[in-house]
């Protein structure tokens, strides 16, 4: 029962954070003509996505209750993907 309450609370948080991302866009913070505002909103929106993904992986995918090595396995894939993306994008800056 305790777990169900936890899962339900996380679901509410996930929905709220998603709505927040849309609100950031609707309130004009994602302004393509105002770089400073845009990149701030960019950071906020992506951080919110990372927070949501962490909640899903940690609780819905039960990483919290698995050996830490499973987390490292998943993060290994993420690290590889980020390394490719970051270095490739940097190479043409």
């Amino acid at each position: 029962m305790a777990r169900l309450k936890l899962y339900s609370a996380i679901f509410v948080v996930l929905m709220a954070l998603s709505t927040t991302q849309a609100v950031v866009e609707r309130t004009g913070l994602v302004d393509f003509d105002a770089p400073e505002t845009y990149w701030t909103a960019f950071g906020v929106v992506l951080v919110l996505s990372f927070v949501k993904a962490t909640f899903v992986a940690t609780y819905y995918m039960h990483l919290r209750w698995e050996p830490r090595s499973v987390t490292y396995l998943f993060l290994g894939g993420l690290f590889v993907a980020l390394a490719l993306t970051t270095a490739a994008a940097y190479s043409i800056l």
């Binding site: 777990r3 169900l4 899962y7 339900s8 679901f11 996930l14 929905m15 998603s18 709505t19 991302q21 849309a22 950031v24 866009e25 609707r26 994602v30 393509f32 003509d33 770089p35 845009y38 909103a41 960019f42 929106v45 992506l46 919110l48 996505s49 949501k52 993904a53 899903v56 992986a57 819905y60 995918m61 039960h62 698995e66 050996p67 090595s69 499973v70 396995l73 998943f74 290994g76 894939g77 993420l78 590889v80 993907a81 980020l82 390394a83 490719l84 993306t85 270095a87 490739a88 994008a89 940097y90 190479s91 043409i92 800056l93």
Partner: protein, 847 residues
């Protein structure tokens, strides 16, 4: 019980053709891999000889220009993908379970499917020759040469699809090996003590898991360029994007090819010098370091592109850096020879030859790792010579493997004299072929015209090529004849061999060991626990003298400082308990399934059909037949009763408590992260290349708004929560609850797809000043990235929905109340798909 005659599970004997279509046993699959890889060696070799004939004189016309381009490209692709690694994985399949003390791989049917996907992907490649010509853009498949504009033949598309099917095989194999090696090691066998060959395979599959996922992303995008007309590699920055994706895979691929050979060399050096590898711990650490570093050197293949100087300098440093651990390994092998007593058997000669060739290949590669020198050497025969010394040098190590383990696989010894003749011809032919190419380095790569002054060097190389080719006739003759008439060997024909495969009969029994293998006592022993003994007469334990490769364990510690001889001559052999005991699970383990073959044959038909689907007709029919047969195959696979016992006692660090299926799913998802990373990374790269803000102004219609994405986010999050609810219901033994929650998940997933379909329909048909003909997949680079990335995600949703269609009726019958693990595994997949969307939503709808 011999390998061939083993049965009890309606498993056909080795002489039966049927056996080879239904087998899931790792040793059979290993033999199938080995033979198939040798077939592709011959095919690729014949193409190479055609090239060498063409190169006999400058601008010769034995082949037409187009045929030459096809021969060059097909030779490279076939040798790199369909020969070298699969050849190594023939040994890996056969030997890794034996070396770690497992009865089989963790997922035997997946292993069979991996093999069949490999075989049919190769046949798909062969079919491409008959579709107006095969791929002719070089093995690196650079853009824009790989695009339909420059390669309109259907055969070019077929090769792209063949590579996709090949990577499916590789991914299945990687997941299987990682799960097996982490979860099914014999008691007492620590990771650090894995035999050198198994250690090399472990690191290889790690690299394969991630590197091939990046290539898969590149190939799926390329296939979409051919089939759907998306715009990626033809867009601004597109050619550079291909090189990033390709070489992110391509450089680890060098080590993916070489590591198994290194493992074999280490095994052979140990056995034939009677000396444990000097500095074994450091040797292993160096291999781990190379495996990690292999992912941070790829841009040294791109020094001549427009990437900035800072990144070139950084990658020059990392490239020079990766040579250091290799130096350590080379010196370790040399010092092992110095400290041991060498016996120049055929496997040792090939191992030593591989070391010499790799040293030359490595040193000449350092030239290419320096930016300034690379400006001169790139695109010349220096590169061709260098990478053949590395890649074929690696293959040389693999040929050591075939001689080393031939007695184990067949029970008979090869002809040693002919083995040495093979080595002599091979080594002379190899160096005659490739060394002159260093001298004639100014020859432009992939071009059959060259300066007349280089003719004599090319003629020497061509002679060398034919000597090298002829050497294989000796090998095939030797092995073929020896298989029937060679001297029978016992369990272990090699003095000083220490690994577990030599402690069982040759060939090994169907389920490998006469009991539960254990290293807990310091040496390999087989526990015939009374309760596991069929006749109840087991004496409890029998021992062989094989040790872990890390040295004989004493009280849990690794003994032997690497200074003495390993093992005792001729003692690593006892096998059976002598009690007639059988492993209790043996009566229940299944080894035969026809469905992996059916699924992969169907995949072959479907891919062949898709390759020409734009021309309709027969291709459309093939696609339909392949699709239907695939569905039949998967249903057959899902409904088949197939029992795979897990070992009762096993070392499972660091994944203890994570059952095999769950670890397999997590491993697959880690690979899928890189696949999506490749797609998302491509989008980000192209957006940077086209100007991040300009992208929005120039390429995105105003009709592309946030709301549909937000709705889909809500739907997917709710569906994830519904999966969680189904697990809760299963815990509460509520069959109706499970059915209801899974059905809700399905409905929300379908809702997601409907919403996406409506959104796409709307965007397809907008008509504005900027986009008068709608915003379609090929309208611009932004529309291509949007439809393809979200389309890939949608395909994942569809796969999940298909799984649910299978699960919901089973849940109705109460299938998941006693064991809810299937729901959990499905949940892992579904939640992952949800996570991916959590990033697609902001990237494609907000930012």
């Amino acid at each position: 019980m011999s390998h061939g005659e083993a049965g009890g599970h309606e498993f056909p004997p080795m002489r039966s053709i049927k056996r080879w279509f239904v087998t899931t046993n790792h040793k059979d699959i290993g033999i199938l891999y080995t033979i198939t890889a040798l077939f592709f060696l011959v095919l690729g070799g014949v193409l190479a000889m055609l090239m060498r004939v063409q190169l006999w004189s400058p601008g010769a016309s034995v082949l037409s220009a187009g045929a030459y381009n096809q021969a060059v490209s097909a030779h490279g692709l076939l040798m790199v993908f369909w020969f070298i690694s699969p050849f190594a994985f023939g040994f890996a399949n056969y030997l890794v379970p034996l070396q770690i003390g497992a009865d089989d791989l963790a997922f035997p049917r997946l292993n069979a499917m991996s093999y069949w996907a490999y075989l049919f992907s190769g046949l798909l490649f062969v079919a491409s020759f008959f579709q107006g010509g095969t791929f002719d853009g070089g093995w690196t498949m650079y853009a824009p040469l790989n695009l339909p504009t420059y390669m309109p033949n259907i055969g070019g598309t077929t090769v792209v699809l063949a590579l996709i099917m090949f990577i499916a095989a590789v991914t299945m194999g990687s997941v299987n090996f990682l799960t097996t090696m982490y979860r099914m090691r014999a008691e007492g066998l620590r990771m650090r003590d894995l035999p050198m060959f198994s250690m090399s395979i472990l690191l290889t599959v790690w690299m394969m898991l991630f590197a091939f996922a990046a290539l898969l992303a590149a190939l799926m995008i390329l296939a979409a360029e051919h089939l759907f007309g998306v715009t990626y590699f033809s867009a601004e920055g597109g050619t550079l994007l291909w090189t990033h994706l390709f070489w992110f895979f391509g450089h680890p691929e060098v080590y993916i090819v070489f590591f198994p050979a290194l493992g074999i060399m280490a095994e052979c050096f140990q056995t034939f010098t009677g000396q444990r590898i000097v500095g074994r711990k450091w040797f292993v650490l160096a291999m781990v370091l190379v495996a990690l570093q292999s992912f941070v050197v790829w841009m040294h293949h791109m020094f001549l592109t427009g990437i900035n100087l800072e990144i070139k300098t950084l990658f020059m440093v990392t490239t020079i850096g990766i040579s250091l651990p290799f130096d350590l390994m080379v010196f370790s092998l040399i010092y092992t020879m110095i400290k041991g007593r060498i016996r120049f058997t055929t496997p040792f000669l090939f191992s030593l030859g591989a070391l010499v060739l790799f040293i030359i290949g490595g040193i000449t590669g350092v030239f290419l790792g320096a930016v300034v020198l690379d400006y001169e050497f790139r695109g010349t025969y220096w590169v061709v010579a260098h990478f053949h010394y590395v890649m074929v040098g690696g293959a040389t190590g693999l040929f050591a493997g075939i001689y080393y383990w031939f007695p184990k696989m067949t029970g008979r010894m090869y002809d040693e004299y002919l083995g040495k003749v093979h080595f002599a011809l091979y080594f002379v032919g190899f160096n005659l072929l490739y060394f002159p190419l260093f001298v004639a380095w100014e020859t432009p790569r992939r071009v059959f015209d060259y300066a007349p002054g280089l003719t004599s060097w090319h003629q020497v190389a061509s002679v060398g090529g034919f000597v090298l080719g002829a050497s294989f006739l000796v090998m095939f003759y030797n092995l073929f004849v020896s298989m029937a008439t060679g001297e029978e060997v016992g369990d272990n024909p090699w003095e000083y061999s220490t690994t577990a495969e030599w402690a069982v009969s040759s060939p090994p029994p169907l389920e490998n060991f006469p009991g539960e293998p254990s290293y807990a006592g310091g040496t390999l022993s087989f526990r015939d626990e009374p309760e596991l003994t069929a006749d109840g007469s087991g004496d409890g334990e029998s021992a062989g003298a094989a040790s872990t490769d890390g040295g004989v364990q004493t009280d849990g510690a690794t003994a032997g400082g690497g200074t003495g001889l390993v093992g005792e001559p001729g003692t690593a052999t006892p096998t059976a308990a002598g009690t007639g005991a059988v492993h209790a699970d043996e009566e229940h383990a299944d080894h035969a399934s026809f469905w992996p073959f059916v699924v992969c044959f169907a995949g072959f038909l479907a891919f062949l059909g898709v390759s020409g689907i734009q021309s309709g007709g027969a291709y459309l029919g093939l696609t339909a037949v392949g699709g239907v047969l695939s569905a039949v195959g998967f249903v057959g696979l899902a409904n088949e009763s197939f029992h795979v016992p897990e070992p009762t006692v096993a070392e499972q660090w660091p994944f203890g408590g994570v059952e095999n299926m769950k670890l397999g799913m997590w491993t697959f998802l880690a690979s899928d992260v890189v696949l999506f990373g490749g797609f998302i990374g491509s989008y980000l790269f192209l957006r940077v290349a086209n100007g991040w803000i300009d992208w929005h102004h120039e390429f995105i219609p105003e009709a592309h708004v946030t709301f549909p994405g937000l709705v889909n986010t809500y739907l997917l999050l709710a569906s994830s929560f519904a999966v969680v609810l189904s697990l809760v219901a299963a815990h509460r033994d509520s069959s109706r609850g499970v059915v209801g929650a899974l059905s809700l998940t399905w409905l929300l997933g379908v809702g997601f797809l409907i919403n996406k379909g409506l959104e796409w329909q709307h965007l397809f048909h907008i008509s504005t000043e900027a986009f008068p003909n709608g915003w379609n997949v090929g309208t611009n680079v932004a529309s291509s990235t949007f439809y393809l990335t979200t389309g890939l995600h949608g395909a994942h949703v569809i796969v999940g929905l298909i799984m649910l269609v299978y699960m919901i009726p089973r849940a109705w019958k109460g299938a998941y109340l006693d064991d809810d693990s299937s729901i959990e595994y499905f949940g892992l997949y579904w939640h992952f798909v949800d996570i991916v969307w959590l990033f697609l939503f902001p990237l494609f709808y907000i930012l």
